[in-house]
Subunit: 257 residues, 2 copies
């Protein structure tokens, strides 16, 4: 059993999320599993880290080839604390999710699920984020299983290029209706915000964030396009944010002081 | 006065941070200014958004060509709420900072200062983040002023390529010791975490995150190299995280289900 890969799991919907439970079951068929997940939902927490308060770690379950902990911090905290304090080393693979809701296009920037993935990748661990395009707590993760397992095995077999991790999104579709897997680029688009403005009992305003996603990309090679056609999208992503193509343009500027 | 540019300011160190006050003073020499900043420090908050609680907005000051508000949310919230509820439109420019501490290399991924900048850029507004490599609350922002103003004027004059914003870091140095400005790429590197493990009065462990930055890049064109040589670094950054060079590699994988 010692040759089984060591798989680290986290998420942002928290330790009790059905999507995490589904991912744990899938990964236990592939390797030894250690879970460190937030003790409460952390959606929209992005790559936040906890520096103003200390962190707690709570052992939930320990059995053959399996350990599970909850952590009081963010997904990024879970990975840092998980590697350093629980594993005291690095796993063979990190997987995060399965997120309840899409992390395609620019939603990646708000995603705690993908923050855990970037955190793993920055530590040199092959890392994959899985999201199902279904926000419901009753989302059906069964149709995802075979795709999650094939992609996981492919990463264990091939590794990933240095500095690259995967953002995988799975369409909401019945078993058999998912058409396959597509390698994509991140679709251009943005969230168009609106705020629900309300008044509290003592007459002061407060605001609830809401918004709709606006796709601004007609490319056939994007994650949004793949999902719209019932394909699983895989976008290789990186944490070097340099806009290399803009460097030449900026060199023309006069910046003498 | 109506032709003065409208400049929106936010940060992550909060409404009372000396770095924000310094940036406000610099921008009021250039244009009309609206400030919406977090009502408390939000360092390390990254691109988190507030979806589980409503937001509050508090008017602090209103005078000719100047308005200032604090907001109960994150830097990204401040930009969303500021554009939608305060401006009811978009500014000519967004600036964020001046951050107390470096946001060079991979620190950008944890940065609330740069989250405000990405948020502006995703809305199509030319956006710049300024950070001083000095964590101290007593940091001297005076040597930064002429560089901040030159870079701001250059962006107002030239605009920025679509999907690109600027991560500007300023070395800690006396007036006259800063050598100039360099256009750079993001240095490779990572934070090597450690945790300070302590025991509370009832015997349970808790953990304080700490860490050191490890540079793993000998390039002469990086932000870290520029800063080490007392230059201001400008890295053009983007929110398309696609690792385009990895797409060809992934197309070779067997992903049949």
């Amino acid at each position: 059993m010692k040759n089984l890969p060591l798989i680290f799991i986290s998420n942002d919907d928290g330790i009790n999320a059905p999507g995490l439970r589904a991912l744990i079951n899938m990964m236990r068929e592939i390797g030894r599993v250690v879970v460190v997940a937030p003790d409460k939902p952390q959606s929209g927490t992005a790559h936040a880290i906890t520096i103003h308060t200390p962190l707690r770690l709570h052992l939930i379950k320990q059995e053959a080839e399996y350990e599970e902990y909850s952590c009081s911090g963010t997904p990024a905290d879970c990975v840092k604390l998980g590697f350093k304090v629980v594993l005291r080393g690095k796993p063979d693979l990190l997987v995060s999710g399965i997120n309840h809701g899409s992390n395609a296009s620019v939603s990646i920037i708000y995603s705690g699920t993908m923050a855990a993935v970037f955190e793993g990748a920055m530590s040199g661990v092959p890392s994959i984020g899985f999201s199902l395009v279904d926000l419901s707590v009753d989302a059906d993760f069964n149709p995802s299983a075979k795709f999650v397992k094939v992609i996981t095995q492919a990463v264990l077999t091939n590794g990933l290029p240095v500095g690259v991790c995967l953002n995988v999104n799975i369409p909401k579709a019945d078993e058999g209706d998912i058409q396959g897997v597509k390698i994509c680029r991140q679709s251009a688009g943005c969230w168009q915000e609106d705020f629900d403005e309300r008044t509290d009992p003592i007459g002061r305003n407060y605001y609830w964030l809401k918004g709709i996603f606006i796709k601004s990309d007609n490319g056939l090679d994007t994650d949004e396009e793949a999902l719209a056609n019932n394909y699983v999208s895989i976008v290789p992503v990186q944490f070097d944010f340099t806009a290399h193509t803009a460097i030449e343009e900026l060199h023309k500027w006069k910046l003498d002081v």
